[in-house]
Each structure stands twice: as structure tokens, then as C-alpha cells.
């Protein structure tokens, strides 16, 4: 396995520092410091956006989910049990908000395929077209995953969330997280192989 989600000494240290900073911010916010909650938002909004986008596959919907997530977190911050990391808790809320929004809208609107691609002067038009094609196929494959498999995969893509934290966010065991990721990989693998650099 690569180093992505494996716990190394340095990542553990970084994680512990991040948790300590979050803890201080929560205490300040609960003591009435309005800027502390804004700092919490600034620290975690990109991770929440990533989860929100993974669940909704639409940038505008994802922003709605981010907003709802922080409104909900603001309301419930006093009840947040600090056993879990703040980021895990926020991602968990974002997953639920994303699922709710998807159910309300029924039909998910996928973003234009152009949206997620960073224009690169180094790639030719054929490579870019190929990448667009792959992205489209992956979006389709992701949409066809069941809600629980998609959720685990989307949480996996958030930097800084360990398998244990994903398991906490979803409410299952680490073994189940692994099995769901394995399943997701099997569903995406064929596509990835097809588009592997030659």
C-alpha cells in the first residue's frame, strides 16, 4: 500500500496538532468569540467542499451543502463530543447534508465536464479530450455506486482523514471501510486501467 492513509509518525503529530488547535477554537467559539467560528470555517471549508462535491457532483449544490453543514455545526457545536476530530464531524455532517439534498432533488445534475479540469498548456487536445472522457466515465461509475460505497470513497478522498476516522464518520468498523473501498476500487479499476498512461 502507498503512504496515502497509513499513519506515520509525522502525520500523527500533524493530526494531533490540528486537533489541539481545533479544540482551542471550539472553546473560544463557545465562550462567545465570533471570530473563532469563522476560523473553524476557514480551516475546514475546503475539506467539507470536497465531500459535498463528491456527494452532489455539482459545484453549486456543493456550496449549498457547505453552507448547511456550517450552519448545522454552529447550532450543534456545544453538543459536539470531542472524542472525534472536528474535521471528521464536519465531514460526517456534510455527507448527511449531501445525501439529503440528493434525495430532495432526486435527479442529480452533474457538472459540466470542463469544470474539474485544469487547463494545461503541456497537454495536447487529444490528451485533454481523453481526460474528459475518463472523468465522465468515473463520474458515471461513482454515481452508480451505492450510497454507502460512494460515501466511504468520497471521505477517502479528503486529505487527513484516516481509515479509523472514516469509520467513525460512517459509523462502521475499519474492516467495513476497507471492504467498501475495495468494492469501489473494483468498480473503478477497469476504467482506470483503460485510461492508464501508455
Amino acid at each position: 500500500m502507498s503512504s496515502g492513509k497509513q499513519a506515520s509518525g509525522s502525520t500523527d503529530l500533524g493530526r494531533a496538532e490540528a486537533r489541539a488547535q481545533d479544540k482551542k477554537l471550539i472553546e473560544r467559539a463557545l465562550a462567545g468569540d465570533a471570530t473563532a467560528f469563522e476560523e473553524i470555517y476557514e480551516r475546514h471549508r475546503h475539506a467539507v467542499y470536497k465531500v459535498a462535491y463528491g456527494m452532489t457532483r455539482n459545484a453549486e449544490d456543493a456550496l449549498d451543502v457547505v453552507q448547511d453543514t456550517f450552519l448545522k455545526a454552529h447550532k450543534s457545536l456545544a453538543r459536539f463530543e470531542r472524542r472525534a476530530a472536528l474535521r471528521t464531524w464536519l465531514c460526517q455532517i456534510a455527507v448527511h447534508q449531501g445525501i439529503d439534498l440528493g434525495r430532495r432533488k432526486k435527479v442529480r445534475r452533474a457538472d459540466s465536464l470542463e469544470d474539474g479540469l485544469v487547463p494545461s498548456g503541456e497537454r495536447g487536445p487529444r490528451a485533454e479530450a481523453r481526460e474528459r472522457e475518463l472523468k465522465s466515465a468515473l463520474q458515471e461509475a461513482l454515481a452508480n455506486l451505492s450510497e454507502k460505497h460512494r460515501t466511504v470513497f468520497v471521505l477517502y478522498t479528503v486529505k487527513g482523514l484516516s481509515y479509523k476516522e472514516i469509520a467513525e464518520a460512517v459509523g462502521c468498523s475499519v474492516g467495513t471501510v476497507m471492504s467498501r473501498l475495495f468494492y469501489a476500487r473494483k468498480n473503478l479499476q477497469g476504467l482506470l486501467a483503460q485510461f492508464a498512461p501508455r
Partner: protein, 179 residues
């Protein structure tokens, strides 16, 4: 081996797994063969995740979220109104005052008097042209008309004159400017 699990391992299974099948898969992945099957998992998923990065949004698109969060204040404090509430438009001040309210007031007075005048004796209203008050609260008629009584106070002002007259049993007040 469970056929569904086998299909999952072959990458041919589509659809959901039951809790039991999920548990079987988790157990399998903890075995030596399972660990081998997991090799390359993060490379593959990392590659997929890289292709599915969300688009970077311009700051302007984030602004509404920033505003909503800023408006929240400290948790537990009274929240400011949400930013998506559109304020009521302020009335536009006219450059010159309109004559319309004055005309409407006059018309309303005329209509009111026309309606009420039916209950008042005409001789009470006739006089010497001096400012006078008719139909006050003290003017209780000896033989009050049936139905609800309405009392109206009508007084000439410095700028307007009031002249009552009748047309076909209809009491009419003419209010005219003295200019």
C-alpha cells in the same frame, strides 16, 4: 466462497452488498490473500480521486457562504438575520410633493359628508358664513333617526369654504378654495 463475494473479487458484481456479505469481505481482506488483494488499492483510488477533484471556484461564488457564516456570530449568541434575506426596498422620495393626497383627502371628506348629511337637518347647516360647528357630539336630535348615528364635525378653514345645498333630496357640500 460466496458467489457474490467471488463476483466482488472479480470486479463483476454491481449493486449493493448485504451486511453479511460486507462482513465476509472484511474478513477476507484481513486474511493473507486478502492483504495481497488490497495491494495497490491506494494507488488506484488515489488516481480516481485525482480525476474527481472538485472544480476550484472563484472567490465570488464562495462569498454567499462566507457571508452566511459571518452572520452567525458566536455559537449560542443571537444570530443575525441570514444573508439571503432581501431587505425591503426603501420608498423612493419624490422630488416635489404631490397634490394627490390633498385631493384624496378632500374627496374623502365630501363622500363622508354626503353619506352622513342625510341624518342632519338642513337648517343647522345654514348660517352667517362664520366658522361654525355642526353635528357635534352634543347635538342629540329630539327624534333621532333609526339606525346607527354618525356624527361629523365640519368646519371651514382659512383656505377653504363649505357651502351646503340640496339636489333632489340629496345633501351636497361644495368645498372650494377661497383663492
Amino acid at each position: 466462497m460466496d458467489p457474490t463475494l467471488e463476483a466482488v473479487l472479480n470486479g463483476t458484481h454491481r449493486g449493493d452488498l448485504t451486511a453479511e456479505q460486507e462482513q465476509q469481505l472484511a474478513e477476507y481482506l484481513e486474511s493473507p490473500e486478502g492483504l495481497q488483494a488490497l495491494s495497490g488499492l491506494e494507488d488506484d483510488l488515489g488516481q480516481a480521486a485525482g480525476y474527481l477533484e472538485p472544480p476550484e471556484l472563484p472567490a465570488a461564488q464562495w462569498e454567499r457562504v462566507h457571508q452566511a457564516v459571518r452572520a452567525l456570530g458566536a455559537p449560542g449568541a443571537a444570530a443575525a438575520p441570514p444573508s439571503n434575506v432581501v431587505p425591503m426596498p426603501q420608498p423612493v422620495q419624490r422630488a416635489e410633493p404631490s397634490q394627490l393626497p390633498k385631493l384624496v383627502a378632500i374627496a374623502a371628506a365630501v363622500l363622508l359628508v354626503l353619506g352622513v348629511g342625510l341624518f342632519l337637518p338642513l337648517d343647522v347647516l345654514m348660517g352667517d358664513g362664520q366658522p361654525k360647528t355642526v353635528g357635534t357630539m352634543d347635538d342629540t336630535p329630539d327624534d333621532p333617526p333609526s339606525g346607527p348615528a354618525v356624527v361629523v364635525e365640519l368646519e371651514e378653514g382659512p383656505g377653504y369654504s363649505v357651502k351646503p345645498y340640496t339636489v333632489d333630496n340629496l345633501l351636497v357640500f361644495r368645498i372650494a378654495s377661497k383663492d
